[in-house]
Amino acid sequence: MIPVENITLIMDTVLLFLLLLTAIAVVCAKDLIISTILLGIFSLLMAALYLVMGAADVAITEAAVGAGISTILVLLALSLVGHKEKKSKGNFIVPTIIILFVSIGLLYATYDMPEFGSRYNPAQIHVSPYYLENGPLETGIPNVVTSVLASYRGFDTFGETIVVFTAAIAVILLLGRVRKKGDSDNGK
């Protein structure tokens, strides 16, 4: 019998390894359709990882938005612009150096991060204890995530909804032009 902590560790390792593989495959794929599908798989793996870490709400969002809707939208966009990657010319030295430096910087930065999952992290000692203790009692809702999002942070969620709404308006303005016959500069 394997202890529970080890199972979580094994799952984390396998999922992260698969994530790495998928990410490399996305970069290497020449056909953009394949890249898109791989990105969908990437999102699904991320969703599984969130679930393992106990963030079920985020997992649902990632699975529905990342793996579902955005894949369809990117595929639709690809059918507009073509799915063959252009051969890029020029040297790769400068970008490689920049990427190396950024990676090293990010890796260095991780040493300054609070310990993973520790209860004494800044995120856990500010308002979270209050929400966890009083959320269900003050809002009557057992799911703390919903009570925080909808009630304590209702104003933020309002802003988020308006952002989504504004995005739709922008897309309608950009792409929703009615095409007329004889309209020569319709972008096609």
């Binding site: 369809i72 709404f165 792409l175």
Partner: protein, 196 residues
Amino acid sequence: MENDILLRTVVKFLTPFIFMFGLYVQFHGDYSPGGGFQAGVICAAAFIAHALINGLSGLDKVVSEKTARTIACLGVLLYGGTGVYAMHNCGNFLDYSVLTHSRCDEVASSRKIVTNKGADNINKTSEEEKKALEDYKNKLLDSYSANKENSKIVEIKDIDAVHGQHIGILLIEAGVGLTVFSVMILVFYMFANRVG
């Protein structure tokens, strides 16, 4: 894709289940993971799957572009309207606690010198109402009895506020769901119209 019998059959079979799951995520978001945003996306996915099989004309018969635009606006209005209604009941913007039980009497009486009559009015609750409140309180406490042992505070102080919170969260989640759902459909419409 429209002529593939396998895809047609599978999608036709799955669409209602995806939609039902979306509604579940919407209305069960208080108790399990989920909420308006996720529900809107899942429901939109059901409709987009329908569109992929039956073409844009198929989607147009269910949700036309104009309907989607209207629903998107209605969702934001529902959210904002809930906030404004809270202000109407003498609370802050989006303060759901006052949604079902207006705080205006309290505010008015605290401004005036509290006369005996006013104080009586505030405290006047019939026995039946008290009993109903007590029942509701117990029911709420049972619904998260798992938390009960860990929590230091077991007493719900303001049952009216909790009732208002319930209604408010339901309304604004519905608003978010409607907006996200129709925005996804609209974005799909825009892209698909271009593809032709």
